[in-house]
Each structure stands twice: as structure tokens, then as C-alpha cells.
Amino acid sequence: MSLDAEPEDLVRPMRKPGKKYMIVGALATVGFLIFAVAYGFQLENGLAVTNLSDWGSGGGVTWGLYIGSFVWWVGIAHGGILVSAAARLFELEKYEPVARIAELLTIGALSMAGLMIVVHLGRPDRMVWSTVQSYPTTVHTSPLAWDLTVITLYFVMTGTYLSLTLRSDVYQLRDKLPNILSPVYSAVLFRYDPDEDPVAERMAWWLSLGIIVLAPLLLHGGVIPWLFQLTPSMPNWYGGLTAPQFLSAALTSAMGGVMFVAYIFRRVYDWEDVLPDEIFHGLGWWMGLFGLLWLWFQLQKLITGAYAPTRDVEPVVNTMLHSNVYWLAVGLVAVPLAYVAFQHFGILDFSVRGTVIAGVGVILGVLIDKTLFVVEGLIYASTRLYENVPGAYVPTPIEMASLLGTVSMIVLFFLGISKLVPIVELKAVKEHETETETGGD
């Protein structure tokens, strides 16, 4: 295993942007602009421009792609920080080089999740004031208020965590960083003292512990599935299996997300040394494991809903069993699982590229599944007296544009941040260096 990465390698992305960078940036900007126009249109005309409708006599779904994408983004965010926290807490040095990528992905994806909620609201202008003035009361009862709390908490934790490790890196690499941004670095290094490093390290450790301990309760372990599973009149949502299902989906898609971002950087900046094969090998393995759990939970749901279902559960499971879209989602998780398993058993040769493509499959599979979950839950409500229930839902181009917009924004975010700060921790490279030297001696 060659570990001859130098600290200089880490600042390579921060040099003058190349042609590909500009093309990707331009495409992402176009994607963002499409979203901006679509959202402006929606603000102007109201949510009537979507295919969302009133559940009940109107026979529609009141939550659709917006909420599906929200759930998807939170899932990616949730897993991202877990990778990083686990790497620190359990001293999984192998994953240290992707730790910061994972943290950045968490920050970006959480922001996009928040944005999806804003886009989803009928009156986003009131969001802050209405929520704040009633928060002390609603936090006791409203899962949406819990949700807000937890997303904010995770945002703060991740941000703190990131800044703790970033200061030391910026300090050490200062002379190699672009001069043009020196005001930014001065701000990052505000009152920095090299003596603070051990303290920061310890704080990061405790934050990691917090993140790991809270993981099974917060975000996809708790509040996000609770938005759905605490609604007894929606049989597809109600029940204790919802949360495990959400968590497994979140983790498997997050592994895919981290791999994908890491792979792009590795390709573009020739970072084979910084982000070696073994990282992808390991992340692929974890992705497979969480994917397997997800499939197992799906199986439990289907078998419960198919063998002797209650009257309200039967139609929704029956629909799932006969839905091509659902089986597409299952396939997009199952095939990658089989692929990484075959690699591990030595039946197939390991390929970084193949594993990353498998990861993209998983990400898409989870997106489809989450949107279906939201929609089917509402379409197959327990109250079936309404003639229009079950209804139908197809997202409009306006709704699709928001998904495109958030993906574009994540791309822009990484394009921007990679020019600003080193997206691999200096520590990761240094430790490898020391190891190599010691080995040499």
C-alpha cells in the first residue's frame, strides 16, 4: 500500500480551477437557476403549480416529492457525520481521509433538507416567526418541532466538529493556501493558538461520542421516521419498523454519497494516494451491510402485509408487491449489495469505479423508495370511504426542479468549499507519513 501522499497534495484542489471544474460549475449553476425560476413561479402562483392535492375528498397526496427528497437528504446527512464520528471514536484510521468529506456532505445535505422544507411550505415567509413564538409549547407535541430541533442540533454539532479540526489544518498549511483568500483564513484562525490543538482534539472526540450516541434516536433513527410512524391512520407509515427501515436506508445511501464525492475528487486530482482503494473497499462493505438490513426490513413489511393483513394494510402492501417502481427501488439496493458481496468473496475483482457506481444505484434506490413511501402512505389511508382514495400522484416539472436544484447546489457547495479549505484532514496524511517512515526505519 503506497502512502506517499504529501501535505502539498491536499492543497492541489485549491489551485487555479481547470476546464472541467468550470464546466461542472456551469452545469450546476444552470441546474440551480432552473430551480430558482421554478421556485419563483411557485411562490408567485402558490402550490397549485404542483401536483400535490388535498388528501380526503380531493383524493390527492398533500406531501410528495418535496418531503420524499427531504427525507432522502436528511438520510445522506445523517450517515455522513456518522462515518466521520465513527472514524474518530473507534480510531478507524483507514477512514480518516474521508472524514472531512463526510462532514461537509452532512452540512451540505442538511442544508438541502432544510431547503426542501422551505420549498414545501405554503407560507415560507412566516416560517421563522411562527415557529419561534410557539416553540416552547409545540416542542412537547409536534414531531415537526422535534424535527426542527434535531436538525438544528445536528447542524451545530457538525459545524463545531468541522471547525475544531479545520483551524489547526489551516494554520499548518497557511503558507501553501491561496493568498487571495487570506481574509477568510484570518477569520478561521481568529485567536488561534497551537496549544489549543489537544483541547480541540478532545472536544472533537466528545462530539463524536455525542453524535454516535444520539444517532439511533435522532434524525433517521428517530424524529424523521416519527413524522410518519406516529400517524395511526396511515397504515403504511404506522408501526415500529419504520424507524429501523429509515436508519438502514439512511446509512446505506450515505455510504454511497461519501464514496461518490470522494471518488470525484480522487479522479480529478489524482488522489489515489490520498484516498486509496481500501477506503472504497471498506465503505462499499458497510454500504452492503446496511443495504442488507434495509432489504430485510422490507421483507418483514411485505410478509406482514401479505400473509394475514388487516384491512387497512392490505391494499398498500398489495400495491407495493405489484409496483414496478417499488421493485426498481429494491433492485437498486439489492444489485449493488450482490455486487459488493461478490467482490468480497473474490468472485469478482475489486473495482473502485464499480463500487462507486453501485453506490450511486443505492442512492437512487433510496430516493425512489422514500418518495414512494411518503406518497403511498397518504394514498392508502385507512379511511377508504372517499371515492377518490386511493388517488394518484406524479410530480410536476416544478417539483422535479427542486430536486435538480438541491443536487446542483451540493455540487456548487463542494466546488466552492474545495477551493477554500483542504477537504482532507492534514492529520490523515501526516499519520500515514509517520507510519511509512517508522516502517522504513
Binding site: N45, G46, L47, A48, V49, N51, L52, S53, D54, W55, G56, S57, G58, G59, G60, T62, W63, H120, L121, G122, R123, P124, R126, M127, S130, Q133, S134, P136, T137, T138, H140, T141, S142, P143, L144, W146, L230, T231, P232, S233, M234, R311, T319, S323, N324, V325, L372, A381, S382, T383, R384, L385, Y386, E387, V389, G391, A392, Y393, V394, T396
Partner: protein, 520 residues
């Protein structure tokens, strides 16, 4: 033995025991006429107090307050003090201890903050629970014991449990033990049900036998309904709602083994435990303390639509596009002469209710939620001819809909229930037994024997405690709306089932009905 148990376990066990155990004791005291007081004192005697102190000392809240609360709660349940006395006695201290006292003190208070507890408190006193079901009165936590005997009401039987878990899930054991639980179990009526015989026991001391707290609601005789949707039309006109917003709706459905159409009139159920209120992240959706009407504050709603998701009845309607200015103007104009608008301090606009909240009429802006408001502008009009009425009630040609205070035995809906009971009872006595109240006069007597229960509430298995009491045929699990010869259609009544869309040729197209395709 208790001392040997771990402290945490001890707290849990004690709380649970108290919540589930005490009503049983109370029942005993009520049943036995011998030395009732002694028995009661014994059950809450020095040993109890010791226990209570031990439990309360382990939580961070004031021990003395907890003990006092529990003791007065017990006194309240024994009828020694009135409910008002109970609340007023501890309000300040509770407020101090928990930061907020979310228990009702002043029924005229306009502060919607109390909605959560109000609904709980109302539930306890919504006396019109007609079908006697063996609710387990000790089900405050141990829901497993609750409601086993009811037909399909297992969940509801544990309705204390539901209220407890949903609302208090994040509150500490201490709060539950010291305050809320004490208050909750104390004023829960012993049997958990209402019928005429029990009324005097149930209703707290006050003027007459009338329950002091007002809970507006409906009694709807679905057998009297002919499906003409006059109620829906009248509602549409009265509230000037947007197309597709059917605040009042009539299900037309068919039973497998019946040829004729069945109808189910569906307004908002103005639940005593409204899930829409619980889930609202901004308190826009609230249960009005004055009269138990569930309303939306249009000035606060952020349009997240969680209320629509959480409501099992599908009564919520979103304002998807710009509202129709003419409709809004029409609503305002027709209600501009309300006498109450002249009252000092009240905004001079019928869109505000008497508490000054923007809750009446249709949604005035896009992006906010609305639903049946129990014609709140009528209730607050100051016009005695309109107060206590709704548009749907007035419009019904067959008098299927009765509206009023369900806690008032003299109200129209309660009187109607009484009448039905008399009509249906075999012995013809004034207070016939509800369970014997099958409509044996119908031609299809056998059907009635099997299916025809005199009163029921819609989907109460979700623990919502709805305030619409139905009389007549209850839809079976096989009931469905997917049939060909439907007796009526909404379009012919000038009503729309689909919301207005946006004129873009990619999908749902406005009123014309179906969406562009299936989702799978």
C-alpha cells in the same frame, strides 16, 4: 421490599401503580356505602404519603407541591372540592415549578396556549359518550387493560394512554408523576363513559346539572340523510370556500349486501383529542377554550400541511392558489352587520373570532390550511338567532344534523339523542338502554339486529375523541365508494371535488377531475 429495588424502577412502578390502581380503589369506595370516608383516607393515608414523598424526592420537582396536588386531586375526585377550586389552588405554584401551567383556569381566556390541556380536560367532561363500553378506568398508563370489551375500541379504551403517550412522551417522569398525572386521573370520570344515569356523578358541581364547560358538536342522524348534499352546498355558500374545499362533505357508499345507498355526513369532528392540534408546529391549529371548536389561525399557519396528514377524517383543505377575492368580499359583506362587531376591543371584521384571532371564513391568502370552523362567525355574531347554529344544520331538509353544546343536557343535539333513545328502546321508557336500541321497526329487521347500532362515532379507534355523534347505520369495514350507480354527484350540485389547479398543461387540470396518471 421497595427499598431493595433500584430507584429508577421504583419511580416507574410507583407512578404506574398509582395511575392504574387508584381509580379501582375509588370505585370500591363509591360502591360501598359503608364508611366511605375511612376507606378513602386509608387508601391515601400515611403509608401512601410516605410512598409519594419517596417517589417525588427522586425527581427534580417540588415534592410538597406534588403531594398537595395529588391529595387535592383525590379530594376533587371525591367531590369534596370543585374543579375550579382545584385549579385555582395550585396554579401559581405549578406555573412557578414547571414554567408554565397549561391547565385551564379561566374558561374565557383567549390564550390558545392551553389548547392541549383544554382538549384533555374537555374530553374528561364530554359527557355524551353514548354507547356504554367497559372502558378500563385504570388505563392511564396501562393501556393494555383498557377497552377490551368494546367492539373495536381497544385503542380508544386506552384513551388516557393515548393522551398520555402522545403528549407527555418527552416530559420527564417527574412531571408526569407530580403534576399532570395527578390532574389527569383526578377528574377522569370513574367509568369513562356517559349515560343519563351517571350524569350526576359525572358532572362537576356547578349550576344545575349542566357541565360548565361548553363543547360544541354535532349529532347527525345518518338514517335521516337523503344524500342531497344541501349541507355541503350551504357550507360552501356560507363560508365562501375555494373550489375543491368541501368543509362539509357527504359520503355516499354502498354496503356489500345492501342495494340502497348509505350516507355519512362528514364535518370536522372537532375532536377532544385532535391530532391536528398536537402535530401543528406553530399552534395555528388550536382548540378554542370557549366552546371546544377546533380552528386554524390563518395569520400564523405556515402551510406545512401536517394537520392534513395527521387527521384520519380528511377534513383539511389547503389553499393551493390565490383565493378568489370576490368570495372573500362576499363573506365579509354578508357578515358585516354582526351585532358583536360593535363590541369594544373586537376587530371590526368578521374574519376575526371573538378572541381576535383570524379564524373565520375562508382562507384569505394562498398557502394556508383551512377546514370546517363550526361557522364560528355565527357563534361569535352576537345574534341569538345565529348563535348555536351552523349553515349545514339550517340547510338540512330532513333535520339530520343537530348542533349545540354536547355537555348541555338541554341542548338540541342532546335532546335529539334522548328522543332517539326513547324511540328506539323496546320498553319505550324515557331512558331506554342504548344497547337495546336497535331499530326493530325497520323492514329489514334482521339487518338491524346485526348492524344497526343507535349511536357511534366515526373512527374513534384513533383516539381522537370526536365530537360528532352519529345515529343510524355505521359503515362496515366493507363499505366502499367505488360503485357505479351513485345516487348523486357533486358537480350537479355546483360543487367541486378537485381543487383549482394552475393553467399549465402538464397535469392535474383544475376541476375536471383526474390527475394525469398513476404513480405506479
Amino acid at each position: 421490599m421497595r427499598q431493595t429495588e433500584s430507584r429508577t424502577l421504583g419511580v416507574h412502578r410507583d407512578v404506574k401503580q398509582r395511575l392504574s390502581g387508584i381509580p379501582v380503589k375509588r370505585d370500591q369506595t363509591e360502591d360501598t356505602s359503608l364508611s366511605t370516608e375511612d376507606t378513602a383516607r386509608h387508601s391515601f393515608g400515611s403509608e401512601w404519603e410516605e410512598d409519594a414523598r419517596e417517589t417525588l424526592s427522586e425527581v427534580e420537582f417540588d415534592t410538597e407541591l406534588g403531594v398537595e396536588l395529588a391529595r387535592d386531586a383525590q379530594r376533587l375526585s371525591q367531590g369534596k372540592i370543585s374543579e375550579e377550586e382545584f385549579y385555582s389552588r395550585h396554579n401559581d405554584k405549578v406555573g412557578e415549578e414547571f414554567g408554565i401551567d397549561a391547565r385551564p383556569t379561566d374558561p374565557t381566556s383567549a390564550e390558545p396556549l392551553d389548547e392541549e390541556t383544554v382538549s384533555t380536560a374537555l374530553d374528561d367532561e364530554v359527557v355524551a359518550e353514548p354507547v356504554p363500553k367497559p372502558y378500563d378506568n385504570g388505563g392511564a398508563i396501562g393501556g393494555g387493560d383498557g377497552g377490551e370489551g368494546g367492539d373495536g375500541d381497544g385503542f380508544d379504551g386506552g384513551d388516557d394512554d393515548d393522551g398520555f403517550s402522545r403528549r407527555s412522551v418527552l416530559k420527564s417522569v417527574g412531571v408526569a408523576a407530580a403534576g399532570i398525572a395527578a390532574g389527569t386521573w383526578s377528574n377522569r370520570n370513574p367509568s369513562g363513559i356517559w349515560d343519563d344515569d351517571q350524569e350526576e356523578q359525572v358532572a362537576p358541581a356547578g349550576p344545575g346539572t349542566k357541565n360548565d364547560r361548553v363543547q360544541m358538536g354535532f349529532v347527525i342522524d345518518v338514517d335521516a340523510c337523503i344524500g342531497g348534499a344541501h349541507c355541503a352546498q350551504a357550507c360552501d355558500y356560507e363560508n365562501q370556500t375555494a373550489n375543491g374545499q368541501l368543509w362539509q362533505f357527504v359520503f355516499q357508499y354502498q354496503e356489500k349486501d345492501r342495494d340502497e345507498a348509505e350516507f355519512l355526513i362528514r364535518p370536522c369532528q372537532h375532536c377532544s383529542n385532535p391530532p391536528c392540534v398536537s402535530v401543528c408546529p406553530v399552534r395555528a391549529r388550536h382548540k378554542r377554550e370557549d366552546d371546544g371548536i377546533v380552528l386554524t389561525d390563518y395569520d400564523i399557519c405556515i402551510g406545512c400541511r401536517y394537520c392534513q396528514v395527521a387527521c384520519p377524517y380528511g377534513v383539511n383543505y389547503f389553499q393551493w392558489g390565490e383565493p378568489d377575492d370576490e368570495k372573500i368580499a362576499s363573506f365579509r359583506e354578508r357578515n358585516s352587520n354582526m351585532p358583536a362587531l360593535d363590541n369594544e376591543g373586537r376587530p371590526d371584521d368578521p374574519k376575526y373570532d371573538k378572541n381576535g384571532n383570524h379564524t373565520a371564513g375562508p382562507q384569505h391568502e394562498k398557502g394556508i390550511m383551512g377546514k370546517c370552523v363550526f361557522c364560528v362567525h355565527r357563534q361569535d355574531s352576537g345574534n341569538p338567532e345565529l348563535e348555536g347554529t351552523t349553515a349545514c344544520y339550517e340547510a338540512c331538509p330532513t333535520d339530520a344534523i343537530h348542533v349545540g353544546d354536547l355537555n348541555d343536557p338541554e341542548s338540541k343535539p342532546r335532546k335529539y339523542l334522548e328522543e332517539v333513545q326513547t324511540r328506539h328502546s323496546e320498553d319505550g321508557s324515557e331512558k331506554g338502554q342504548p344497547e337495546a336500541g336497535y331499530d326493530t321497526t325497520s323492514e329489514d329487521a334482521e339487518w338491524n339486529e346485526q348492524r344497526h347500532v343507535p349511536r357511534w362515532r366515526f373512527q374513534e379507534e384513533y383516539g381522537t375523541r370526536p365530537n360528532v355523534i352519529y345515529v343510524g347505520h355505521q359503515p362496515s369495514a366493507d363499505a366502499n365508494d367505488q360503485w357505479v350507480d351513485k345516487p348523486g354527484d357533486y358537480e350537479s350540485y355546483g360543487l367541486h371535488k378537485k381543487r383549482d389547479g394552475f393553467d399549465l398543461d402538464y397535469g392535474h387540470g383544475g376541476d375536471d377531475g383526474n390527475e394525469s396518471g398513476g404513480d405506479h
